[in-house]
Symmetry: C3
């Protein structure tokens, strides 16, 4: 038994501070993913610009939440999990938000004309991953349903595998069918940013799995 | 002395569970690297396709081993090292396997015609790194030969440095001699995936070094 | 209170060994960044070659310092912070050095003709980040001015954000104005290496923040 676990029997846990912040951060990421899916499926350029702006706003909100978690970590004597894990989870959720915004930003900056099928598919996978991320985070507060958290983490891993596959296939197709090297590079960069957002979901899942391992 | 080390004098260690799994995972990576070297040196396209299929199979086997380690972590009260280190080492070994398979997958998907010298050289370096990875993992079980583990880790670091150099040189040559931008991108991507496999070996070495530091 | 903190009241700390090494490593990174800024702003090719050579030398010196920290970790019974954090901080500082040298190396290998504004701007940001990195590292030894360390870490985060923005904007401009795909790829790679150096500064800042969290 880790000393951490022994301590759990003696100390009260300050759950009221951290869990609401984590839940808000995870919900924020899910909303970003929803807006991303809207943006890439939008038939209307003005709507899409609007969606990209909303993603920027949500990302700022996410930054504030992450910062609040760090501040609470500094103030709180007792934390529900290891301080390192709280730090790592907050960072991982923030990374998902960063890559969603980074992908949206590239689409905007590179001024792409066509929102291709792999772009839409990867955005959809990010949303799936974010839904499970939020689910898992909500279960962390009581660890009553460890099975549910583990299942969400497994699904997030599967989403990341699918995203890898979509990315690889899409890049192979670019090499086969895209004749303009510039366009090929642009699309490859955007697809890579989207795919990395699912990697960051997986990182968050890995932190949660490691929290389960220590607190099981 | 860390509390972890104090505890080591009181608790039996469940070495029988974890070490065989780690050894199998490391041997599996070494086999993947051997098949990769065969594939890139193959003069026969059918043989190469066969090798790529075998890499996929071994990668699946590696995934199962990683999953088993995670499951055991959940079940086992006592672990030979910190649970976090066991988790991190299993993940790092799995990452090496992922990048070997990812490299092979790109070669297949991008349908490259020529297996160039830097591709063969980087594959060879991955194999060297994997051989030392396996050696070091096999020594973990008793920590009698800490020097051997440290030496393997140093060699893995040196392999990663050499791979960096081969990669940089190869990309510079592509810029000098390759006139087709598409081909340049393809080869650069494949070389990058191969080089990253050696980075992941180094990550595994870093985890082992940190295990040594804590358990010395 | 973490057990780590309890122990702090009982054990003397071997600060005399680690802090000078960390300070030398951070100063070394700052010097590399200074030489990088000189190199990219140099009007004279011979001076620039000289600067690149000096970066290589400093990187070697940094490697030695990192290695010494690892060795001390193995020898020292008592460490001022968690051994893992010492290992992680040494690695992060080494990573900044690696990416500065990697950027310089690419500029040299790809034989670029023009040191563009974004290259100079990113080099300047690396220098700013390195200055704060050194400042923060120097404050670690007594943790009297926790606020100063936290402020440096916040500034390093801001530098990383600015570098992201410069990188994104520069790559968008390449897509707009650069007609030669090869040149576009070259510059994109160099900008990416420079931007990653600021990511590594942020990693180092994250480790220091996590040290603060544990030792506050």
């Amino acid at each position: 038994m880790s000393l951490n676990s022994i301590f759990q029997y003696f100390v009260p846990k300050d759950k009221k501070v951290f869990f609401p912040l984590f839940e808000q951060a995870a919900t924020n990421v899910k909303q970003m993913a929803e807006v991303l899916v809207e943006a890439v499926n939008s038939k209307n350029d003005a709507d899409r610009q609007e969606a990209f702006k909303q993603i920027d706003k949500l990302e700022n909100k996410g930054d504030d939440l992450t910062h609040q978690i760090y501040l609470e970590l500094g103030k709180n004597f007792i934390t529900p999990f290891d301080r390192e894990d709280i730090h790592a989870l907050a960072t991982a959720i923030d990374d998902v938000a960063d890559y969603i915004q980074g992908s949206a930003n590239r689409m905007l900056l590179y001024n792409i004309e066509e929102y291709t099928e792999p772009i839409c598919k990867l955005s959809e996978l990010i949303l799936q991953g974010s839904i499970d991320l939020e689910k898992a985070v909500r279960e962390l507060k009581d660890l009553k349903n460890v099975r549910n958290i583990a299942d969400s983490c497994i699904r997030i891993n599967s989403v990341e595998n699918q995203a890898d596959y979509v990315f690889d296939r899409a890049v192979a197709d670019l090499f086969l069918y895209e004749k303009d090297a510039m366009r090929l590079i642009k699309y490859k960069e955007i697809l890579a940013a989207l795919e990395t957002a699912t990697d960051m979901c997986e990182d968050a899942a890995n932190v949660m799995e490691s929290i389960l391992v220590k607190n099981a």
